[in-house]
């Protein structure tokens, strides 16, 4: 595999070392090498933590920062962090106002968070969770609780963290983050696979000239495989999966996120966004705010995700709050 790494078994630790050096103005190390925290977490606010497997840069550590997550637990590539790491993240973020653990719906994360929550409670930390499950393609609407969390997690973090920054209570933060999740839907399309650094061949296959509709952030197979379409076709498929599921309707104000999966040139993301915008315009749906870029990746997978959140006044205000993390810079980074 054509990679810039040393020992594949150390890639996560070395990446963290480099990340901490590069962004010393935003984040810092903690006693647990698999937990990083924001610099200068303001006191007297609800702590926001998250965590997940590595290989999704900027997620997860790229969303730690000012008015964003206060700490993140870091797992191996595509593998949940340990319960101990989630626990330590909670401890680091705890300002005696409670901790909100906002993470994505994967069985490893669920188990480890569950154990961490039990341990945190024993230690007297008021901790509650919100589980993102925005990936429409990963389960039918009547089993929403089984859906995976994908790029929509970014909206959950932004909204929950902004609410906490406003000084809201733990319950209010949880309610806002849950509202973000409930108002958000995503779908992914895969064009080529990725290879785990410790492996010597891709961990799944996407045949040339085909695309996998509904693919997950780890290459989990999607709903179906079809001949590779044009950007316009892909936009239509995505919009037709996401829109009816919520449902989004004429007049809605939304936040739209088009994220690359890693190796798709950013140029193509703009071509895709252009098509999606046209379709939404036709349906009278307004894009209040957009995000186009590599916001939540899967190593060097080719493909893209489309995420849409319906906004109300509260969500608008929260999504607009300045924030400073490596992956999301809005307004003042000081």
């Amino acid at each position: 595999m054509q990679r810039i790494i040393n020992d594949p078994d150390n890639i996560v630790d070395e990446m963290l070392e480099g990340f901490l050096k590069a962004h010393a103005d935003i984040v810092e190390a903690t006693a647990n090498p698999r937990v990083i925290k924001a610099r200068n977490i303001p006191g007297a606010k609800v702590g926001i933590i998250t965590g997940g497997g590595s290989g999704h840069k900027p997620a997860f550590i790229g969303y730690v920062g000012k008015n964003m997550c206060d700490a993140a637990a870091v797992g191996e590539i595509f593998s949940s962090p340990t319960a101990a790491a989630f626990l330590d993240a909670a401890k680091v973020a705890d300002q005696k106002k409670g901790v909100a653990c906002l993470y994505g719906n994967y069985s490893g994360d669920n188990m480890n968070v569950k154990m961490a929550v039990a341990m945190a409670k024993k230690e007297g930390i008021a901790i509650k969770t919100v589980i993102a499950n925005d990936d429409v393609a990963s389960a039918p609407a009547d089993q929403r609780e089984k859906r995976r969390g994908v790029a929509g997690e970014i909206f959950m973090w932004k909204v929950g963290a902004a609410k906490a920054a406003q000084g809201a209570s733990l319950d209010e933060v949880i309610a806002a983050a849950q509202k973000a999740v409930d108002s958000t839907r995503s779908v992914g399309i895969g064009l080529s696979p990725c290879t785990l650094p410790a492996a010597d061949h891709p961990n799944f296959a996407i045949k040339p000239s085909t695309m996998e509709i509904g693919i997950g952030h780890h290459g989990e197979p999607g709903m179906k495989v079809e001949p590779l379409g044009s950007a316009e076709d892909i936009a239509k498929i995505m919009v037709n999966i996401v829109l009816p599921d919520y449902p989004f309707k004429e007049g809605d104000q939304t936040a739209v996120l088009v994220s690359g999966l890693g190796a798709t040139p950013v140029m193509e993301l703009y071509v895709l966004y252009n098509e999606i915008e046209k379709l939404l315009q036709q349906k009278g749906i307004k894009i209040y705010k957009n995000y186009v870029g590599n916001y939540f990746t899967s190593l060097e997978m080719k493909g893209a995700t489309f995420t849409m959140m319906k906004l109300d006044d509260e969500l608008k205000e929260l999504i607009d709050m300045p924030a400073c993390s490596m992956g999301l810079k809005e307004g003042v980074c000081s």
């Binding site: 078994d9 191996e76 595509f78 593998s79 340990t82 790491a85 569950k114 785990l196 961990n203 780890h218």
Partner: protein, 213 residues
Amino acid sequence: MTAFDNKKGRSILQAMVRSIQQNKTHLSDIDGLIGDGDHGINMNKGFSLFEKEYKDKELSFNEGLEKLGTTLMNKIGGSMGSIYGTLFIGMGEAGSRLTKISLADLTAMIEKGYSKLSEIIEARPGDKTLIDTLAPALESLKKSTEKKEDFKTALIKMKAAAKAGSDSTRELKARYGRASRLGERSIGVPDAGSVSCRLLLAAMGDAIVELLE
């Protein structure tokens, strides 16, 4: 031939470590078909870490299981860290006072591990997870214990039950874990965790046979 010395457990753990190391690629390949392709990598990393950390230390069977479980739980994460971690820690705890380990003891140890595991996962037999290997293997041991079968015979039957259980996942639809949202597309491929569980139980069984007194 009715028990083995708990103190001599290191060889059993070594056999388990080796079977994971040898099947690293195979396990990842299976996981790649309907999961994210890292099962062998995760398992290998955890088991090898344990091997390295306890290389020069004395370890009884139950201690070894606890240490292995703790390493998986605290160092590896993923689903596997908590699932095998919980299972092995539970087994180890249940065996902590034993000098000799009989068929009934081993059965009780696995039963304890399984019950601990059930506290953190919802999967039942038929859900296309490692439970499809673990549950029938445990059932088989229980039956052999009731029937007071020979330890070695019981282990051979257990291995067969584990294999049949693991093979059965091929025809099942996944309901938990990454593969669960594949629906029909998960059919035709075995579950990666059920295969690693079968390998571990087989390695354990074979190594115990060698130690039977």
